[in-house]
Symmetry: C2
Subunit: 297 residues, 2 copies
Amino acid sequence: MKIGFIGLGIMGTPMALHLVNAGHQLLVATRSRLPDAVAATTAARCANAAEVARQAEVVFLMVPDTPDVEQVLFGPGGVAEALPGEGSRKVVVDMSSISPMATKAFAAKINALGADYVDAPVSGGEVGAKAASLTIMCGADPAVFERVLPLLQLMGKNITLVGGNGDGQTTKVANQIIVALNIAAVGEALLFASKAGADPAKVRQALMGGFASSRILEVHGERMIKRTFNPGFRIKLHQKDLNLALQGAREIGVALPQTASAAQLMQVCAANGMADLDHSALVRALELLGNHPVAEA
Amino acid sequence: MKIGFIGLGIMGTPMALHLVNAGHQLLVATRSRLPDAVAATTAARCANAAEVARQAEVVFLMVPDTPDVEQVLFGPGGVAEALPGEGSRKVVVDMSSISPMATKAFAAKINALGADYVDAPVSGGEVGAKAASLTIMCGADPAVFERVLPLLQLMGKNITLVGGNGDGQTTKVANQIIVALNIAAVGEALLFASKAGADPAKVRQALMGGFASSRILEVHGERMIKRTFNPGFRIKLHQKDLNLALQGAREIGVALPQTASAAQLMQVCAANGMADLDHSALVRALELLGNHPVAEA
């Protein structure tokens, strides 16, 4: 199949390689230098996203944020200029993590131009992208989802159709809210325990298996105790995702007080030079406030 | 063995019954009416806690809060009046959930009077107390812990010695911090998802198994969606536990911003007549703020 891929960054490059390695004809457009790994394949470079969309049946996007998706789709030389095009109905698959509300608007515009839309944000990071083990949360019409599923299966493992357009992005935001707040939960609990004189490693062990148990207590709790804050998932990326949550909450009219406060704790980290540490380093913001580390480095 | 038990409430009564049913001679003191279930056993009623401690080798406490423990131990007619007593060295086992810092002071005073101290707060609630399946988090000298362990095993299953005196209570506080904040995390995520138009049940399902997974997402997330807020663990009891966390944090000099905010959300519930609902009803505070329920009742 002729497949377009826009956004050959840390995530996009290994994802695109899985597609081309499976025998698909890849079409790419990038303003910066083509990554060597992609240049070494049969991938064809196009002048812009419109040219990619003119030739490809399915166009994947993996770009940083909402304005980037808008630019690739609807800016000059964007995908929309090539729609509906000829042959079978084209599909835009946005795997970036962006605003759920903007996604619904983008999908409606793409639909109006005679093409289909799938929002399919991922979790699993660079490791998951390389291993083709990403978790993919989808919002789409079920028939459209079925059409692109074999392609998504080349990049990920746990692939869920949550609902219609936007629901994939909504699920990703919900995921990032829980992960951030569970990190803060473990951070406050271990800091309290440590400053109260208990061994945080023994407290963590005692809490596993009970109602306090979580994947974050397991993985990020251990990072806090062992002081291994190399990413993982960077504070600055989680800041972007919490911004999507808080901006979205404002648009739809809900209040997220715990998320807002956690975003500020991440801001404390960023203000202290920790934006590129793993998000488990949120505990260091709490440690700064309490002038006490959970454990010695 | 002659065993004292002070505090025959909803939790204490079934716990004491497990001890007497195992063949131990139970000694009790209660200012209110003796529960029928206890009166029907061989339990002997004493005039006060001092009288209990005079006869018993091990004295269990299961009372509401820090001042209650202080009163039973050091008030008029309290346990301290009977110490050190004759025969083998006596042990005080406090299974109440109280201040870790006060616990260290109480233990030091009991030690100075020639007796041993174990803090052994529990989780698992009335169901766990009746089923003898409580989780018990202990702070004690290891030899003293070993001495009372066979008795604790009559009341609970997952029994951990975390460290010295106070560390059991510290672990319980850490547990309650994480549980409260994970409930808030799931609440904010599901509220965002619902108001954004997604099906919260499908979002929850998509998040299970990933980094957002937790026992709270599993159990309390389902309660939020199914609107089953019958306790469980009551908001007003969790309020007491978060108060222990925040009061303790003030004493030891750490800041717990997320815990403080979650305590206020529980206060929103209490202010709206929900103090006796399950703590998963914290989501209703968020729903009030956002004027939108996660799901219809």
